[in-house]
Symmetry: C2
């Protein structure tokens, strides 16, 4: 497989732009996170408003800026659908991944922005602006930018599931019984399980503190941003069979070590 | 029931001291969180070292400071057992609640410090120093101290489970089948479920972004710190029958609204 690559000057320009999009998104979302109308009791009807406002407002702001700066680029987002999805460069965005964490006040939601070049994710970021963290990467390397500076991201080796730390958001929300049974097999084989962290757990794989994340029912905007961050840190993203993830998401494994996926695939057979 | 209370001057002194203990603990723990030896691959044997060092180091530092300043006070902690547990004032501490989150690099572990007066928790804090947050409270009120200032904590009303957001850390780790069945009944009755957040979820109840947390198998150091924070914010902590929690923890409910516990109790019958 020939992997499409951006030349270095173009990539640096787009990487700077990606950080700008993260800032634009954070400016919309942060005032709504734990905002008084979410924290005070307004009853159930008002409960999910801040999410919608955060998601929609941030996606609209990101789309506006892309349209200004790179009008030929495509955009795929959760809230406002597809614009030019067949363009050579396509942004794939989810301003608030982990909306359930967001409404519960938990700072493990993330802003996911990926860039496809000729159909493949080549640049991406996982941002958590409340924590002041942006995990950003491409094939040449991945970094964590944080309030105190930046660190290079490196996954850790883990060929033996008996030593693995594994995460999934909520296995009870897997849609079919075979998926839940697969998760139970995986859970029984690993050392440590973490739940509830959505895409923030992908960033922990890139950082080398979690070995693998297993998810089902993902959309492209849940996946594309993470692929370059993981790959640039030494990891790999596949489907549950160990094959490349299709353009539509689905059942996905994010691992720091290819050997970990090889060990998981027999358990994940559905 | 007559609730023991500290007089205001004494309470202010102890509240200042509680914040000092949080700082002392953070100074030990933060350099070990996501430290290079945890992030780089050192293989499975080294994986849990930073936790032990953080837990033990922080508890030792806290105990040393209590012994210097208040040698007559008692201390109960996870790592070093009980000193003078029948003293009039007893500190109950867990420097790293959520050790699994800690080793996985997830910033939802907390430092729990509670103070018992005449056997009842009257002052407590839930600290997350990586986020720069300390939730602190007593019967007179609870506050969140954060980098940008402080806010008063108020739980929200929630009498109807169909509108409730509920959290537990990991129902698959409940020890008996009846507990897991009870969780399944609860899960089926509520609107939104969050997993994986240990005591950080209790703080979200105090803040009014989560309605209730259900846990099983807790120890006193998982509970005592949270009781004053919840009660000072308008919430309540009980066992699964809606009765006061015993000194040894066990099955516990942390709720923002007493009515929410009343609705839960029939589902939690084990």
């Amino acid at each position: 497989m020939v992997t499409p690559m951006l030349d270095a000057a173009r990539r640096t320009e787009l990487e700077d732009f990606l950080l700008e999009l993260n800032r634009i998104s954070a400016d919309v979302i942060l005032p709504l996170f734990r905002a008084p109308h979410a924290i005070e009791d307004k009853g159930p009807k008002g409960k999910f408003d801040p999410v919608t406002a955060a998601d929609r407002g941030a996606e609209a702001a990101i789309r506006k800026r892309i349209a200004e700066r790179f009008p030929a680029h495509g955009v795929i987002g959760e809230e406002y659908g597809e614009d030019r999805p067949d363009a050579e460069l396509v942004w794939v965005i989810d301003p608030v991944d982990g909306t359930r964490a967001f409404v519960a006040g938990l700072p493990v939601w993330t802003t996911l922005i990926g860039l496809r070049f000729q159909g493949r994710p080549v640049l991406g970021s996982i941002g958590q602006p409340f924590l002041g963290e942006t995990f950003i990467g491409h094939a040449g390397g991945s970094r964590l930018l944080h309030r105190g500076g930046e660190v290079r991201l490196r996954t850790r080796a883990c060929a033996d599931l008996a030593h693995a730390t594994i995460a999934t958001t909520d296995p009870d929300t897997y849609l079919d019984e075979a998926e839940r049974a697969a998760w139970s097999r995986v859970r029984g084989a690993v050392r440590l399980v973490r739940l509830g962290c959505d895409a923030y757990a992908y960033a922990m794989v890139a950082m080398g503190t979690i070995d693998v994340v297993v998810e089902a029912g993902l959309k492209s905007w849940d996946v594309d941003a993470a692929v370059p961050v993981l790959e640039g840190a030494g990891g790999v993203v596949t489907d549950w069979r160990g094959a490349p993830v299709g353009a539509n998401g689905g059942r996905v494994v994010f691992a720091g070590d290819r050997a970990c996926i090889d060990a998981l695939v027999p358990l994940l057979a559905v």
